[in-house]
Subunit: 280 residues, 2 copies
Amino acid sequence: MSEEPYKSSAKSVTARALAVLAAFDVENPLLTLSQLARRAGLPVATVYRLAGELEDGRFLDRDSAGRYGLGVRLWEMGLLTPVHGRLRETAMPFLLNLQYECRETVQLAVCDGTNAIYVEKLTSEVSVPIQSRIGARIPLHATGVGKALLAFSPEAFTDAILAMPFTQYTPETITDRRTMSRQLAQIRQRGYAQSHQEYQLGSTSIAAPVLVDGTVQAAIGIVSYTLRTDLTRYAPALLRAADGLARRLETAAGTAYPSISDRISGSDVHGGDPMPPQAS
Amino acid sequence: MSEEPYKSSAKSVTARALAVLAAFDVENPLLTLSQLARRAGLPVATVYRLAGELEDGRFLDRDSAGRYGLGVRLWEMGLLTPVHGRLRETAMPFLLNLQYECRETVQLAVCDGTNAIYVEKLTSEVSVPIQSRIGARIPLHATGVGKALLAFSPEAFTDAILAMPFTQYTPETITDRRTMSRQLAQIRQRGYAQSHQEYQLGSTSIAAPVLVDGTVQAAIGIVSYTLRTDLTRYAPALLRAADGLARRLETAAGTAYPSISDRISGSDVHGGDPMPPQAS
DNA sequence: ACCCATCTTTTCACTGAGCGAAAAGAATTT
DNA sequence: AAATTCTTTTCGCTCAGTGAAAAGATGGGT
């Protein structure tokens, strides 16, 4: 059918191999050889060979029908990544506790490039519609966790973000940088951020930064439906969780991991980044 | 012709690139270029180039010190993997609920090759020592989830596993295949498996299979310290969770993912990863 | 049953992409 | 300042990787 993503002008062998892996996304977790080839923008024979090798290393797995899917190995490696291996792992107990206390959706996010990424999201209700997947990139200016991250980022970074245009997601989205600037100051003062239907109509959130040695490493947030409860009553619990995590991370800092965002360069606001830019 | 001992230059470019990624593990999540080269068994210059490309695609990230670590991209891809994207995602609410009910450690595992893999593990207590990481490979014969998976696997598979020698982890580990065979029958009858200090002294577990259309897709388990409580009292809740998940998976089967284990071929008993059975 | 379309797998001769020794450049340590 | 260990760049040779094409599967429509 209509399959035609972006064309990866893969030139090196490695780039080609990576392009094959990059051909998968949320909507297409399983692909046949030819689909794969098409999406990767490479000749079938080439993909056949590459995919074969990737499969050997379990970077790709095939189902009974012969379709390809990203392999277990990839998943296992994801677990070794700083975001998971250090952050999520240590954060989990705190998140669970928090979720236990307030029984609302609890989330953990970090900053990467000019976006925030959901690292974890706990929703107990069996029936809630998938709001934002784990791994999803969300704007820094329109969500609780986003603003919490932004407010406590180094000034240079905050300024850089403020200098960019703010996409408007709902009528409530803050698009004026002066307003935003004022809000950030308020957030810094209060210690936590709030967001009311600024990203998605009908949902409110409250979020606090995880400050490790003075720098924001992540943000913890609680999300709920606008009318349900006043989330501010969870502020103490939220701050306790965030601080608890922060102290934990400080302790285990010996095994320091790289901080994800250092470069504003990489991914652009929102959406999927196929492959970051590259000079020659 | 005599060849140089361990000079494995019979590798394809792709294999080399993958070797670079594979150089990381739990103990070494961060490596300098030279360490990386050494661990991958490749010349520095080569790794330099490959790592450069991998970094461009964010398959590798570097920290401020220039050390390499597995990149965010890898993590994001792991999320698209069947184990996570389909299983973990749908299972999470059930696991959370279960954990909420019993306040014990709850885990989700699948079968891969001749091992089980922990896909998720929920521990609320902030201070528990790391027992088994998510992603860890554990034996099928010595744990609750393992036995639950084994008991409900196709006969051919069970037989194949029973034909292999059982590593003894504790004095309680079942090593005799007749005993095991009998237990498996019992498990099938009762609907859930139990394990008492068979893998790790001091901990008991109870586990139930997640049967989707008659085949085991996963197992949910509850683990606790031996003396704390009688876990069987959680059996109803456990079975409810397992069945609930199973039904959920059946519903969403439209977007069928490949079942992970099909081949016993792949990883050998206990896989290549060094795995401390008893944390020291 | 047939044909036609689309899929996967294998082959093979050509060639430029990737290799890695080596040297230059940084950054530490002695 | 010399020694050591790390990172980055260069460059000519060669063989690994390429992709068109053909052969082999598979499937589904009539």
